[in-house]
Each structure stands twice: as structure tokens, then as C-alpha cells.
């Protein structure tokens, strides 16, 4: 079993915890002893953090809506269609007709890239996330 030191994905406390990995599956978690926030302690959500990762409900393939229902597709179609529809919206309605919602659950780098994409590629400042909620 391997242990990977990472940061908890739930609340703003930001505990340091280890993910326990066997055969490519996360099977458990434990707190970091010296981390300044967790100090060898996790809340009940942290102790059970591994459970959702391999849940059968996880999305594992891209989906696209055809005739009203979401069906499996490949990455190429999903990305191409999105790029096409976003470009189409810009040319018919202008850049400010696009809204982007970033995430307080994603990393700093992902948030940086998404606001850069919104501002530099979509040419709008319509980007926000749930901070106000």
C-alpha cells in the first residue's frame, strides 16, 4: 500500500491527509501528524474521503445531448461541439452572451486557466464562482 500526502477537498480548513492506494484504488485515508491544521486529526468527512472517488456514479465518459437525451460520446466530439457552439454564440450574440462559472472545488491553476480562457479567448469578464453563496 502506498500513501500519498495531499490536501482535503472538502472545507476551507484545508487538512493535510494521506490517501492510501492499493492497485490503483484509493482505499482509505489518514491525517498528517504534523500538518498545522489537521495535527493528526480529521473530521468524519475526511476519514471517508476515499469513498466517493471510486463510486459507481462517477462520470467516466463524455456525454452529449442527442434527441433530448444525454448519450455517451468521445472526447473529440464533446470538445469540438463545445468549441463550435461557444464560437457560434460569440459570432451571433457577442462575447458577453457567454457566461462561465468556475469552481471553489477546483485548483488554483484550474481557476487561473479558466478565467484566462474566459478573458483571453471568449473575450468577456463574465466569470464568477460560488464565493458569494
Amino acid at each position: 500500500m502506498k500513501h500519498y500526502l495531499t490536501t482535503c477537498c472538502f472545507c476551507g480548513c484545508g487538512c493535510g491527509l494521506y490517501l492510501h492506494v492499493t492497485n490503483g484504488r484509493v482505499v482509505g485515508s489518514s491525517p498528517s501528524r504534523n500538518h498545522p491544521v489537521s495535527r493528526n486529526n480529521l473530521c468524519v468527512k475526511g476519514w471517508h474521503i476515499h469513498e466517493f472517488i471510486h463510486d459507481s456514479g462517477r462520470l467516466t465518459r463524455p456525454l452529449v445531448r442527442k434527441n433530448g437525451t444525454l448519450v455517451h460520446t468521445d472526447w473529440d466530439e464533446a470538445l469540438e461541439l463545445t468549441a463550435e457552439r461557444l464560437s457560434g454564440t460569440i459570432s451571433t450574440h457577442g462575447s458577453d452572451a457567454i457566461g462561465v462559472v468556475s469552481s471553489a472545488k477546483c485548483t488554483n491553476e484550474e481557476n487561473y486557466l479558466l478565467q484566462k480562457f474566459t478573458r483571453a479567448v471568449l473575450s468577456t469578464n463574465n466569470v464568477d464562482h460560488c464565493a458569494r453563496l
Partner: protein
């Protein structure tokens, strides 16, 4: 937070206002309990009898939405009894006279009457906090999720400044951030008015700097906020959306309008790890990698930037959100080529002064770095405002009582507050897959005072229908004295009881934070849950 979580142990007096700390921020609550164990004083201000209030020396159970009159009453008492910190006010602040004048025009007895708490208790709390050498305030969404949220926060700042309770270790004002990276998402400029590091998009020099770095001309007009985008209705200005890792259909107020808005779009793309209520409405759904399947950094409530490390490869055909954004960008004619997330962070450091010294290799060595961290030799900043505030001097902004947007009336006689439970996270997409967590907290309950329950013939376990002007849900009742008479409480973590159908989207005009904490509802018994 102006302080670090660990510092809370060292405060003499801790005042917790609008925070259900044990359930929402367990690690902060642990420090509060430890401080009480060590003989420190705890003041809790909350309309509910929360778990943390049981540890308090003083619990001010104020009427919901009366934080400003309470804080003004405390300040007035501090002023009358000359417990202010003259030196701090003189050297570090400005506009004190306007606060003082405003407090003197208020009638103390009237303020106290609005809060519903006794004058003795308020005086005791005011003296306890003002006399502390090291006083800390922690606040959370009970303060901000009001139509007068900005006034609430300014009043807290006023109280901390007149008593000089800022600028040292163990001393400050600490908003507890909810999501693991809500601090970072703000820091990174996922906001309509600012680039990374809170640099305004309308500032020409700033925009030029980013235009040079990104080699694109950039828009200068302010963008729309989340609430403007998701509540504009079927024929709003927004025609297409990309939503990454959020579930507004369950988490935003007046949820049925959010759904209607998203259904009315020409195109919606959603990236998530589960098929959420929001993803179900999408035209394209990207399967995203979870936190265990990617590298990157997140910034916690105490501004600590920390590494998330990949433990396993993305499951199935999942890809990381960064991958998805870079692919989309490439297909729209703008290449974003980064070797890895460390390289993205280098670009962030170059363009963002407060993150100027934050690089992945430095984060490897210790427990992350707390911003501001301006260059590679900067050790980070455990607590803020040591010698001066960000804007120079701290400015007093007096605030007056602002009644909630929606008050109970004869048709909707109860006041509903919403919050979170310990065992689940936000809309429950992740935590509700865990059998153990589900066993501990399988459903939301409606907390109702036993006297109110009695008069409506409602017993524990009965199903009740609660309705606001915007809609209704059915939920199990739990009579308890945790809530006051005529007020109700439930959590928004459960999709079976989507309480945000009821909540009021009226917002604070400055922060645009909706008033989740107060809406008027009626309660009817519908049956008994076996």
C-alpha cells in the same frame, strides 16, 4: 482570515458570530474548544443554540438579522465605558468621528430591544471582548448571507478596530471560508471584476500587463456575477454557459428560476465528477478527474497555498479540468501549452504580486505558504495587517440596522434559516455516496420550536410542507429548543429536500451575496414518516 487557524488557541477572548463552527469548520472548532479548556473566554452570537454555543461563557441568542444593532450596542457600551483603544484608533485608523457620532445618535435601549437579548448579557460580552489583550472574532455565512451582509462585516471590523484587536498574532478578524478552494478561486480572479490577485479589470495599466503576458486584447467592461447569470430567466442576455464543478441548480437561492434559466440557454456545457442536477440539463457533459487524480494547489481559509498531489490516474476516460480548458482553448484558436501545473503556477507568480513567491518546489518542502508572499525569499504571512492595513489606515464605516428583505407576515408566519450538517458537504454529490456518512445523516430535518410544533399538532417524525412565495418542499419535522419560537432551521445538503426552492434571492447590493439565512415561510402538517 487575518490569522492562522493554529493562532486561535492563543487568543484570550474568542467571539464567534454567525458560524456553526463544529459542523462547518471542525478543525477551527477544535481550536475553540481547546482554548476554552485552557481557560480562555468564548462568546457565541447565534440565533440558534449550536453545539459550539454550549461551550460559550456567553451565548447571545439574537433574533435573526439583528447583527448590526447588536454590534452597535456593544460598541456604544464600549464607548460609554471608555474601553476603546485610543492609541490604535489614532495611529491606525480614520473616520472614527463618524462612527462615534453615529453611535451617539442611536438609542442604546432601542438597539438592545431589536436584538431580543438582555442588556446585561450584551454589556458582559462587550466588556469581555474590549478588555481582552488578544481578542479574535470568527465569522461565517451567518454574517454574510444577509441583505445587509456588507454592513454586518463592516460592523465587525469597526468593533475590532475601536478595541485595537487587529495586527498581532492571536488577534484579528477571521471570516471562515466554506469550500476548500473558495479563497483560491477568488485569488485567481474567477470573479467578474478582477484579474488574479484582485487587480481590477478596469485599471488600464493592469489590463495592459495581462494583455502583454497573454498576447490578446482583453475586455474592459465588468462581467456579470453568478447570480446575474443564473437568475436572468429564460430570455436573459446569457445564451451559452460553461459550468465547471458547481451545482447551482441545488445550491443557489430560488432554485426553480436557476433551472428555468439554464433550460432556456442555447447551449450549456458542464464539467463535473458526477451527473449533478446541473449536469442533467447540459448539452455536453465532461467527466472530470477528482482531487485524487490531479496535481495542483488549493488555498485554505488562512490563505495557506498547499499542494494537492495525484494519488491515482484519472478513472475511466476522465480528464482533469485543466486539460479540458486547454483543449477547448486550442480548438478555439488560442494555444495554452503548459508542461505541468507547476508551470501554470510560475505564470501566476509572475502576474500576481500576492502570489509572487509561490512556486510548487517551495510548497514541496513545508506545509505550503500563506499569502501575501511576494518573492522567492518571502516566508509568507501568518497574520495580516501587522503595521498597516492594505489600504493604509483602517476606515470606520458606520452601519445602521437594515431589516431583512422578507419578514414573516400573517400568510408566511415563520422565519426560515438554512445551513449545513457535519456529515455532508454542500449539495452532497460526494459525501452522500459514502454508506457510513449516509447512515449517520440520511436526510434533512426541519428544526421547529416545541411550542410552535405543539400549536400545529406536529410531532417528531411528522412530515410537514414548508412553503415560501417561491415554492414548497416536504420535510421531516424535529421539534427542538435549538431554534427560537417562530424560527425554523434546515440544511441544504439533501437533494430530496431542495430547500433552495424556498430561499430568497434578494442580495446585498455590494457583495451580491443572497439572503439565504432569512426567508418567510408557512408550515403545514402532511403526514407521519414511519
Amino acid at each position: 482570515m487575518t490569522n492562522s487557524i493554529e493562532e486561535l488557541r492563543g487568543a484570550e477572548v474568542i467571539m464567534v458570530i454567525g458560524s456553526n463552527t463544529t459542523e462547518a469548520h471542525p478543525q477551527v472548532a477544535r481550536r475553540l474548544v481547546a482554548a476554552v479548556d485552557n481557560g480562555k473566554n468564548l462568546i457565541v452570537i447565534d440565533p440558534r443554540r449550536t453545539a459550539i454555543s454550549e461551550f460559550a461563557d456567553i451565548h447571545l441568542q439574537i433574533r435573526p438579522g439583528t447583527d448590526i444593532p447588536l454590534l452597535n450596542a456593544m460598541m456604544r457600551i464600549i464607548l460609554d465605558e471608555n474601553l476603546i483603544d485610543d492609541v490604535f484608533i489614532e495611529m491606525r485608523t480614520e473616520n472614527f468621528s463618524s462612527l462615534r457620532d453615529s453611535l451617539y445618535t442611536m438609542d442604546l435601549n432601542e438597539l438592545i430591544a431589536i436584538t431580543g437579548v438582555t442588556a446585561e448579557a450584551i454589556g458582559q460580552a462587550a466588556r469581555m471582548y474590549a478588555r481582552a489583550q488578544k481578542g479574535v472574532i470568527c465569522y461565517c455565512l451567518g454574517i454574510t448571507q444577509h441583505i445587509c451582509g456588507t454592513g454586518n462585516v463592516e460592523s465587525i471590523a469597526n468593533l475590532a478596530m475601536i478595541t485595537g484587536n487587529v495586527e498581532q498574532s492571536f488577534t484579528g478578524v477571521n471570516p471562515l471560508r466554506g469550500q476548500n478552494n473558495v479563497q483560491g478561486a477568488c485569488d485567481m480572479g474567477a470573479l467578474p471584476g478582477v484579474f488574479p490577485g484582485y487587480q481590477p479589470v478596469q485599471d488600464l495599466e493592469t489590463r495592459k500587463k495581462f494583455e502583454r503576458a497573454w498576447k490578446k486584447s482583453l475586455p474592459e467592461n465588468l462581467g456579470m456575477t453568478l447570480m446575474q447569470m443564473t437568475h436572468s430567466g429564460r430570455d436573459g442576455q446569457i445564451r451559452a454557459m460553461f459550468i465547471m464543478g458547481e451545482n447551482p441548480v441545488l445550491s443557489d437561492p430560488h432554485a426553480s428560476l436557476v433551472k428555468e434559466t439554464l433550460e432556456g440557454l442555447d447551449f450549456l456545457a458542464v464539467s463535473d465528477i458526477f451527473l449533478t442536477e446541473t449536469a442533467e440539463l447540459a448539452d455536453v457533459v465532461f467527466p472530470a478527474a477528482s482531487f485524487a487524480e490531479k496535481d495542483g494547489t488549493v488555498t485554505n481559509s488562512e490563505r495557506r497555498v498547499q499542494l494537492m498531489r495525484r494519488a491515482i490516474l484519472p478513472i475511466g476516460k476522465c480528464r482533469t479540468d485543466s486539460d479540458i480548458i486547454m483543449e477547448l482553448s486550442k480548438r478555439m484558436g488560442y494555444r495554452m501549452d503548459y508542461e505541468d501545473m507547476a508551470e501554470v503556477m510560475e505564470e501566476i507568480a509572475l502576474l500576481t504580486p500576492i502570489y509572487g513567491g509561490i512556486y510548487h518546489d517551495r510548497l514541496e518542502k513545508d506545509w505550503g505558504l500563506q499569502w501575501p508572499c511576494t518573492d522567492r525569499n518571502h516566508p509568507g504571512t501568518p497574520y495580516l495587517h501587522k503595521y498597516s492595513f492594505t489600504r493604509g489606515k483602517g476606515r470606520f464605516v458606520p452601519a445602521e440596522h437594515h431589516p431583512p428583505d422578507e419578514s414573516p407576515d400573517s400568510e408566511y408566519p415563520f422565519l426560515l434559516m438554512t445551513g449545513r450538517v457535519y456529515h455532508h458537504y454542500h449539495t452532497g454529490t460526494m459525501t452522500r455516496t459514502s454508506e457510513m456518512l449516509e447512515r449517520e445523516a440520511p436526510r434533512a430535518v426541519l428544526e421547529i420550536h416545541p411550542d410552535d410544533a405543539g400549536s400545529l399538532n406536529i410531532r417528531k417524525g411528522d412530515m410537514v410542507k414548508i412553503s415560501s412565495k417561491r415554492g414548497s418542499i416536504e420535510i421531516e419535522a424535529e421539534p427542538t429548543t435549538r431554534v427560537m419560537k417562530k424560527s425554523l432551521y434546515t440544511s441544504f445538503n439533501f437533494r430530496e429536500t431542495p430547500v433552495n426552492i424556498l430561499t430568497n434571492p434578494a442580495m446585498d447590493p455590494v457583495a451580491e451575496c443572497p439572503e439565504y439565512k432569512i426567508c418567510a415561510v408557512k408550515v403545514e402538517k402532511v403526514g407521519h414518516n414511519e
